[in-house]
Subunit: 261 residues, 2 copies
């Protein structure tokens, strides 16, 4: 399983301040620390950007590339932000994310096709709703995949995110079960005939819950997802418990060539 | 995932003493405690028995049944011990285990067919050797299954044990990876067209290693196997870390009807 650091996100006040003052150094320091801590990729998320600041993703890309050679994931719902970010990239990035929302199908998908990038397919329907049940997630994955293949993207470009819930939601635990099963179906090829890439954002589980649930819950969920065949996890690599658990998981199940799908 | 307690085994001195003195009470006390701790099944293993003591499994069955209504797994390489145990059972037990060894194919398999019991297929070849690689495990599983189907046992009677290694073995970690992948292939139906039952003995990992590896290693391995779709785990339910981890796993992935296959 590959680890994508989610430390360069706009929910980190250091990142927000660096983007405001256009100071690359704090971003570079985070990028360096993430690489040292074992990140395989860096997910860059500048948050919501006004029209005037749509170049901030490109600024992040340039800052980070000066100090790290890790592959990048450009994480934004805004196609213009993604395009500007991509044009600053020295290596082809991964786009995060397509959903069934019409503007994304019309603008983000063609961009991925144009530059032949890998693309995260976030299992959200046309109203940005995340369905809780396995069969609904599978239906959504199938529909998103059809759009991508029809647009000319190859299967090996697709990375499905079945969307881990916040455990505070009333049906949070049931949703986790559906996510684990969706990952297994996608990863083992039983759904689409051959294995496809999968990703989840582990931090989703605990938004605002740090005190309520023990870390062991996330550690266990992460291991279960790894056992189900997850290709990528998005997480806080600077949290020692997270990187420790990833080290154990990769010791028990060393990434093979296939998991870099 | 269902938990089979491995506490009623002959590596437990209390069990050995009870079998020697034919005292049912210590066995009954262990059975009660296992049931309270959340065991779904009890695995009974009287150890190696001389011809003269082949009725000891039946003694265990009778003792345990007086205090517990949990389903039983009869764990012995000796067909005569299994038969005597079965005849004492009030509910149809599971037999543990068939391998490709000739005497077992000739004597344990017909017994399972005669009584139409579920049967654990331990992935050991005709020389009692456990192959390390995934492709070898798959080949063994396929061959064992063919024998069972040809003998008249239905597919839903089969429970495959890909055999967790002792982590002290030089290739221990690589073997764990192969076990996790074998479980995934078996559990998701991609191997035999429909999902089949799977089991592992978690204690295999740490025979003699209690101090060398932290419990988190087993906890992580157990969660990964659960994520891969494991149906049963054989473990020490009286160890609080084990039952705590099982509680977390079953909270994140509540057993459905399918996992009782």
């Amino acid at each position: 399983m590959m680890v994508a650091a989610d430390n360069l996100h706009a929910n980190n006040p250091v990142v927000v301040e660096a983007l405001k003052s256009l100071d690359p150094r704090p971003l570079q320091q985070i990028a360096r620390r993430c690489q040292l801590a074992g990140a395989d990729l860096l997910d860059l998320n500048p948050g919501y950007l006004s029209k005037r600041h749509e170049d901030r993703m490109a600024f992040m890309v340039e800052a980070v590339q000066e100090v790290s050679d890790l592959p990048l994931i450009l994480d934004s719902p805004n196609p213009s932000v993604l395009r500007k970010g991509l044009l600053a990239c020295s290596m082809r990035p991964i786009f995060n994310a397509l959903t069934l929302e019409k503007p994304k199908l019309e603008q983000i998908l063609p961009l991925a096709v144009e530059y032949d990038t890998k693309l995260v397919l976030l299992l959200l329907d046309e109203h940005s709703f995340s369905p809780p049940r396995l069969d609904e997630k599978i239906a959504l994955a199938t529909e998103l995949r059809s759009h991508c293949l029809a647009a000319g993207l190859e299967e090996d470009r697709l990375i499905f995110d079945p969307l881990l819930p916040n455990l505070q939601w009333p049906d949070g635990f049931l949703r986790v079960k559906a996510v684990i099963e969706a990952v297994r179906w996608l990863a083992d090829g039983s759904l689409f005939g051959e294995p496809v890439g999968t990703i989840v954002g582990l931090s989703n589980l605990r938004s605002g819950l740090r005190r309520q649930y023990p870390w062991q819950l996330e550690a266990t969920c992460l291991a279960m997802l790894a056992g189900a065949g997850l290709s990528y996890v998005l997480g806080d690599v600077l949290q020692p418990e997270f990187s420790g658990q990833m080290a154990l998981i990769n010791r028990l199940n060393p990434p093979s060539n296939h998991s870099s799908t």
